[in-house]
């Protein structure tokens, strides 16, 4: 039988030390991704370091930034009054994710680090470069209706599944980390790595790096924002395509979900909108111009385009 050690830590530094000492150790937060993937054999960890007792459960507001502890649950953050008032895009993205039962267990840190739902990643009997570098990617010719059309590589087309992360990249959130060498911060837009020829590497995190929180700069008063998610069923389903729009006065920030290998900041669309704030169709077209669909996910190009246009028309129209 696979034996597993379980330790509970009380201090962030202790958590980092536990991991740094053991290459086969992993953090355990709400467990809704980690335990799931361990049960099906996709990830193996010999030692689970339970971080849920760490004092990282606060949501504070220091005037400029909303500071969210890594262990705040999705449901709790969605219910924060300041989120409802000032960050509708964040609230919508949280509440459009998973189910209320999962959201009560799932943490913000864990959400950002959840793994792709690509069925080949999750099925150890099949080929996956992300799970087993060099093994090949069975999704390329396989079941890929829900795979990415942006940020893909010949080695991996797995979609990044998080809704929260899409809202947060649009909001220019910053991730706070504690690593073996001390604390540091990384903007979320630079946090995720597209697959290229190393699909196994998904973020800039190094083994032992603990996400301690996320800082979200509050948009100016009066900013409209929202998150639109299209899916196969009305609730409890990952996005086929989604769009986050933050329409600050004078500038519109946009991100796409469900269609890319990483939470996708739509820079090209933003560039078009900087020149012509209401050129929604052109903005969406520009963002998807280089999309690379495959046999069964070609619809996503059109779906993402329309989702983005709808989201812009809803929140960025004057």
């Amino acid at each position: 039988m696979r034996t597993l050690e379980y330790v509970r830590v009380g201090e962030p530094a202790q958590a980092v030390a536990e991991l740094a000492a053991d290459p086969a150790a992993a953090f355990l937060a709400g467990g809704t991704t980690q335990l799931d993937l361990m049960k099906i054999g996709t990830v193996t960890a010999r030692r689970l370091v339970d971080i849920t007792r760490l004092p990282l459960r606060d949501v504070t507001f220091d005037g400029g930034d909303l500071r969210v502890g890594a262990l705040v649950t999705m449901e709790r953050l969605a219910r924060e009054p300041v989120v409802a008032q000032r960050l509708p895009v964040l609230r919508d993205a949280l509440l459009a994710g998973a189910s209320v039962q999962l959201r009560n267990a799932a943490t913000i840190g864990g959400n950002l680090l959840q793994r792709t739902r690509c069925p080949y990643f999750r099925d150890v009997a099949t080929a996956c470069n992300k799970r087993d570098p060099g093994a090949g990617c069975a999704a390329l010719e396989g079941v890929h209706r829900n795979h990415a059309i942006l940020g893909t590589s010949p080695h991996c087309i797995a979609t990044h599944p998080s809704d929260l992360a899409v809202a947060l990249v649009a909001l220019d959130a910053v991730v706070r980390l504690l690593g073996p060498d001390g604390p540091r911060t990384v903007p979320l837009t630079g946090f995720y790595l597209p697959p290229d020829d190393t699909p196994r590497l998904e973020t800039v995190l190094r083994h032992g790096d603990l996400v301690t929180g996320v800082d979200i700069p509050l948009p100016a008063q009066g900013t409209r924002s929202g998150y639109l998610k299209v899916r196969d069923r009305a609730s409890y389903d990952f996005a086929l395509a989604s769009a986050a729009v933050v329409a600050d006065p004078g500038r519109t920030r946009v991100a796409l979900g469900g269609v890319a290998t990483v939470p996708w900041r739509a820079r090209r669309a933003e560039a078009v909108l900087r020149e012509a704030p209401e050129a929604f169709v052109a903005a969406a077209g520009a963002e998807l111009a280089d999309a690379e669909p495959r046999r069964d996910n070609g619809y996503k190009v059109e779906l993402a385009r329309r989702t983005l246009i709808r989201a812009l028309s809803t929140w960025a129209a004057p």
């Binding site: 039988m1 009997a125 099949t126 079941v143 299209v230 196969d232 069923r233 009305a234 409890y236 619809y299």
Partner: protein, 691 residues
């Protein structure tokens, strides 16, 4: 003395087993424990075709707690059990090195705990010689069996009538492979005492599991006892005795201890059947005023390589429309897919999807209201044999359903109704469901304390059999309902047919009525005080040459909203009117129709079992990726019952088990056409088709 069926029969009694179930006190097969119980875990094939060239079991055998590892090299030789009314038994497991589908059992590990068994199963290493699997019905290598079960029918001259018809529809419809997914993972707990085998099993048909196991192990049926007092749902998955049932019994025999084998969710996808995918070509011919002159329906669908399932997609009697010329042809194509089975109105749901959508196409072509088109073509007699139906509530279903729904308030042209930016569509479908009844026995016992027990081997898979038999016996014996105990799901009890084919209620209520009558007869004639009085009763399908037994009829009406930009489809309203003969309990019957409607919604909107196109391996074999409707997908479902007792049997019951499922997908697809002008001929109706 004559007892009347009142006040309880027909009353909305709450489920008598409800409190036990919510308290966790109802023993399901996976609750069964024996002191020396061992646990089994399966090793499954990861290729779809080929042979096992080597299987390494040493690591598993040496793992903690492992009692044995059984493979095709070490398994006892088994026979195939006797065929039943739904066809031959599945191929017995672990009998050779051939691999015919991904998911086929290659070994079973038995250990002291479930965790030990699962961990050791991981250590079994299998080597294969891989063949190119046959995965598509159009593959020229695929073996095709025309008219496999001799259901094909031709009446009149459909080809000629099609040629000369004033108006024609010729369309091809497809439906995907679906998986039943009852909530309760199927479990078998098997125990041998010498040559006596006791099996606790998730089955819808205890008698079938018994005869299957007796046949497999070559022992008399009387030595096999099958228990299934509670089953966590089935949707047809429990109609066959699947290989894992045999594996559990085999393992128990080998280790000399009782063995529990609980399937995992992924194993449920390959080990308990499912609805095969279909491709159906349907041709209709009609006069300009909407009288059908020809129906030609052809269906093709897979069957597993080394398996045979009695199946029929093209509806009997051309779906009971009055049409002089019709042809129905089924073709089964052998593929390297997991054994198919029966799922929520098997065959009929797929077949009526094609037929009822094609009729909608015809109505649109003719500019005739879809309800009116169907009313013009109602078969007043059974088209298959010309006999009058025992009851015909179909017109009433259309009338009552349309009225409740407000059908005639629609503007008939497609794309003509809106709700804000969303397109609104109304669609409908009619259903004539087949009649089934099998012989059934039951016993009634009156105890000295005045209470009574009703007993039959039938199962209650969540549908309410315990409750309706309580109601029935209470009325017949003139007792309060809590003085009646119902015992089910045990082959030691009088033999009952499957909870399937919408046929159990008719069979079992008539048998129980007979048993109660016989009991009262004995009581009337005097009997010794202080002892139990027991009587048996039976029912059998009446053999009538003069009438055609009618199953349930229904009309389904759906309202949808489609976002024209994003392609999102939501069903916002559903009305189903059903003629189910006598309704034993309107609350439970409505629940059954609502449940069926949700299953139909899943079929319409999202359900699909997705194989890897190259390997055939199912890539969404879990409830995270295989989507079923959640609450937010299910609108108000309005269920209306029309008609009354059917004169065919004393109880007048027709059965409402499956009728709720079948009309939903076509009604929704037709509503989508009305909303958008798009005719979607492939299920499920997902976003990419509506952009």
């Amino acid at each position: 003395m004559t007892r009347t069926l009142a006040p309880l029969v027909g009353a909305a009694l709450d489920r008598v087993d409800g409190a036990r179930k919510v308290a966790g006190a109802a023993p399901y097969p996976n609750d069964v424990r024996y002191p020396d119980l061992a646990y089994a875990a399966l090793v499954r094939a990861t290729i779809s075709a080929g042979r096992v060239s080597g299987i390494e079991t040493e690591g598993a055998e040496g793992a903690p707690g492992v009692l044995t590892v059984i493979t095709h090299l070490t398994a006892p030789r088994l026979s195939r059990g006797p065929a039943t009314s739904i066809g031959p038994q599945p191929t017995p497991p672990l009998q050779g090195d051939r691999v015919d589908y991904d998911g086929q059992y290659l070994a079973v590990v038995v250990a002291g705990t479930r965790e030990q068994a699962v961990a050791a199963a991981d250590l079994v290493e299998v080597r294969y010689e891989v063949d190119e699997p046959v995965l598509r019905t159009e593959d020229p290598r695929a073996e095709r069996e025309e008219n496999p079960w001799h259901f094909d029918t031709t009446r009149g001259d459909p080809a000629g009538a099609l040629r000369t018809a004033e108006v024609r529809v010729d369309s091809t419809y497809t439906t995907p492979h679906l998986t039943n997914n009852p909530l309760g993972p199927f479990t078998t707990v098997a125990r041998w005492d010498g040559d006596d085998l006791t099996v606790h099993d998730s089955t819808q048909h205890t008698a079938n599991t018994r005869s299957a196991l007796a046949g497999v192990f070559g022992i008399p049926e009387e030595r096999v006892r099958v228990l299934a007092p509670f089953v966590g749902g089935g949707f047809g998955a429990g109609l066959r005795s699947w290989p894992h049932v045999t594996v559990a019994a085999m393992a128990a025999r080998v280790v000399g201890r009782p063995v529990a084998l609980e399937l995992t969710r992924p194993e449920m996808f390959t080990g308990t059947g499912g609805r095969p995918s279909t491709v159906q070509r349907i041709r209709l011919g009609s006069t300009v005023d909407g009288r059908l002159v020809a129906i030609d329906h052809h269906a093709e669908y897979p069957a597993a390589m080394d398996d045979a399932v009695r199946y029929r997609v093209t509806p009997r009697g051309a779906g009971a429309y009055a049409c002089p010329n019709f042809a129905a042809r089924d073709v089964q194509v052998r593929l390297n897919v997991p054994p198919t089975g029966h799922m929520r109105a098997p065959g009929t749901a797929e077949g009526l999807f094609a037929l009822e959508c094609a009729l909608d196409e015809l109505a649109f072509r003719l500019d005739i209201d879809p309800v009116d088109l169907r009313l013009r073509n109602v078969a007043e007699v059974d088209p298959e044999n010309g006999r009058p139906w025992t009851t015909t509530g179909l017109r009433e279903c259309y009338r009552v359903g349309a009225e409740r729904f407000g059908w005639y308030g629609r503007s008939p042209a497609p794309c003509s109704m809106r709700d804000g930016h969303r397109m609104v569509g109304y669609g409908m479908a009619g259903v004539t469901f087949g009649w089934t009844m099998m012989p059934c026995r039951a016993a009634a016992t009156l105890h000295p304390d005045g209470t009574a027990t009703i007993a039959t081997s039938a199962t209650d898979i969540g549908t309410g059999t315990y409750t309706i038999l309580t109601q029935l016996a209470a009325d017949l014996l003139d007792l309060p309902p809590d003085w009646v105990r119902v015992e089910l799901g045990d082959t030691r009890l009088p033999k009952a047919p499957a909870a399937g084919g919408s046929g159990l209620t008719a069979a079992v209520t008539n048998a129980v009525q007979d048993a109660c009558r016989n009991l009262l007869e004995i009581v009337r004639n005097g009997h010794p005080r202080g002892t139990d009085v027991r009587a048996e009763g039976a029912s059998a399908p009446p053999e009538r040459e003069d009438v055609a037994p009618s199953g349930a009829f229904a009309a389904v009406f759906a309202e949808v909203r489609v976002d024209p930009d994003l392609g999102e489809l939501r069903v916002v309203r559903l009305v189903t009117a059903v003629d189910g003969g006598r309704i034993m309990n309107p609350k439970l019957a409505a629940s059954q129709i609502i449940g069926g409607t949700v299953g139909g919604l899943g079929m319409a909107l999202m359900e699909r079992t997705t194989p890897d196109p190259g390997s055939g391996r199912i890539m969404n074999a879990n409830l995270g990726d295989y989507l079923v409707p959640v609450h937010a997908d299910v609108p108000d479902v309005d269920v209306l019952f029309v008609g009354g007792p059917d004169p065919l049997t004393p109880m007048g019951v027709k059965g409402v088990g499956e009728v709720g499922v079948v009309g939903v997908a076509p009604a929704v697809a037709n509503a989508v056409h009305h909303a958008t002008g798009r005719r979607l001929r492939a299920l499920p109706l997902t976003v990419e088709n509506l952009l």
